[in-house]
């Protein structure tokens, strides 16, 4: 098993032609029973397993992944991290995550390449200006950094940005969160898997959950999987787009719908865009990876689907907007596009907490913006599972809010999916 990373260990490995690299986590076979089983080996599930072991002392924990870890939405998103959400509950949740991002590489001794390069959200209409200024003020009241930029200030922060008045999508200003940025999505999955595995968590890949077994009292007893029955008195479902399907195995319906969300990347070029730029009004997000590719995200396709494929018109729309905002990018060739399946709630806020079934917990509904929350999501979900009570930050995000009407309506707050 791999030892601790340090400057010295990296130097030693660099000189060995990669021969000294060891597997970073145990590819475990499932045991017969665990205290907690996490369904879904994406960033959120792996983070939850890590915090269960690290902060709650649970050692008999397994993460069950149908495919390979980080192969779902964790490896398919556009890696944007920010916490400038409107409502108090959201700001608390996402800023909890952002604070964990800031120390994450050190915490798990794995370079997740967190890069707080700034996230700039463009205003194209009078309505955008009012909404973003409201966000700036609400964020500052909540201790979340966010500032308003004029078009000239926006261009100074991001030089290739086109602020010409005659543009199809004129830039009338921007909201900038300097603490926001990006991280390396694969490294987040690998780093959490490595750190969890070192604490005794079993990372079980190629293990699809096919059923949830419940006892006469209704409480969960374990999961049926393609690799046999695994007993567990607590099950945490962290299955993103597949959440409705998994929860149905326990007879629980969810206020979720799963949609394709697409992204694409360009050929790699030298550093050209220094920050993340988001245009919610036209559904285009762009940043540059450390390899030099421009990473572009589009809006969801309009229909429910598990195909992990979307229509070309959605990415075309995003690319057209990007070319208008950054005319210099119009000659770049696009190299790859792909889609993930995102589970969307009616109020565009996640669902974290207990369910009507004793022992069954759910962390879902992160929609199009779950990556940014990975550490915070896993952290509060682990707390919720370990104590069988919602973490104070997670409490407002209960499944019950759809009955009581206490929605956390970020859909109306942003007027778009995010």
């Amino acid at each position: 098993m791999a030892g601790r990373f340090s400057a010295l260990s990296l130097l030693r490995q660099a000189t060995g032609g990669g021969q000294r690299l060891a597997p970073q986590w145990r590819d475990a076979a499932p045991a017969d029973a665990y205290d907690v089983v996490i369904v879904g080996g994406g960033g959120h599930g792996l983070a939850a397993a890590y915090y269960l072991a690290k902060e709650h002392g649970l050692r008999r924990v397994a993460v069950l992944e149908k495919g390979w870890i980080g192969g779902g939405n964790t490896g398919r998103n556009t890696t944007i991290i920010r916490s400038n959400y409107l409502w108090d509950e959201s700001a608390a949740l996402y800023d909890h995550a952002l604070k964990l991002w800031e120390g994450l590489s050190r915490e798990i001794n794995y370079n997740v390449m967190f890069s707080p390069r700034g996230v700039m959200m463009l205003a194209h209409t009078e309505h955008d200006i009012q909404v973003f200024k409201r966000h700036v003020h609400a964020n500052r009241v909540n201790g979340v950094d966010n500032e308003w930029l004029t078009p000239r200030q926006a261009q100074a922060f991001c030089p290739p940005l086109n602020i010409a008045a005659g543009a199809r999508y004129p830039v009338l200003g921007a909201a900038l969160q300097r603490r926001g940025g990006t991280a390396r999505h694969d490294a987040v999955a690998w780093g959490y898997a490595r750190a969890a595995s070192a604490l005794g968590v079993d990372i079980v890949q190629n293990c699809a959950v096919t059923g949830i077994r419940r006892g006469p009292d209704g409480a969960v007893q374990g999961v049926e999987t393609t690799r046999g029955f695994i007993a567990a008195s607590k099950i945490g479902v962290s299955a993103a787009g597949a959440t409705s399907t998994v929860m149905q195995m326990a007879g629980v319906r969810m206020p979720l719908e799963s949609y394709p969300l697409q992204a694409l990347i360009s050929e790699p070029v030298k550093p050209v865009t220094p920050c993340v730029v988001m245009s919610n009004t036209v559904h285009a997000y762009i940043s540059q990876s450390d390899k030099g590719e421009l990473v572009i995200g589009s809006g969801t396709d309009q229909y429910v689907s598990y195909s992990q494929r979307g229509g070309l018109q959605a990415v075309t729309h995003a690319v057209e907007a990007v070319c208008d905002l950054f005319p210099t990018f119009s000659r770049l060739r696009m190299m790859r596009s792909w889609a993930g399946t995102v589970d969307v709630t009616p109020d565009r806020s996640p669902i974290i907490g207990k369910t009507p079934v004793p022992g069954l917990f759910v962390n879902a509904g992160w929609g199009t913006g779950g990556f940014k929350a990975t550490p915070g999501s896993g952290h509060v979900f682990a707390w919720t599972i370990a104590r069988d009570a919602p973490h104070p930050i997670a409490a407002p995000f209960s499944l019950d809010r759809f009955r009581t009407g206490r929605l956390i309506d970020e859909a109306a707050a942003a007027a778009v999916a995010h």
Binding site: A242, S244, T245, P255, E257, Y303, Y306, Q313, F402, R403
Partner: protein
């Protein structure tokens, strides 16, 4: 991009259509008598099925009419389209059951 067979206009490309959510969700007949749970179910809970899904579409850049379709959400292939207000042709449950 989907090719959608509008029951009134024939097959057209997806950008002519607007998706309108799961089909066959009737508004409660006695809204005042409904419990909070029932309201939540009506407003927010959907089958989100992995398999054959009954859904509404509107041909906004054609006849402008709503119609229903059954589509496999794994392959995105349409099984059939049928006029609004008619029963699901394959006789499956109204809200669908998991495959």
């Amino acid at each position: 991009m989907l090719l959608i067979d509008c029951p009134h206009c024939g097959p057209r490309a997806e950008p002519e259509f607007q998706y309108a959510g799961e089909a066959h969700i009737a508004r409660p007949g006695d809204p005042a008598g409904l419990s909070d749970e029932a309201w939540a179910t009506h407003l927010y809970y959907r089958s989100n099925i992995r398999g054959l899904h009954a859904e509404r579409w509107r041909h906004i850049h054609g006849c402008g009419r709503y119609f229903n379709a059954v589509r496999d959400t794994v392959t995105d292939r349409f099984a059939c389209t049928y006029p609004a207000g008619t029963a699901r042709p394959d006789g499956a449950g109204v809200t669908g059951e998991p495959r």
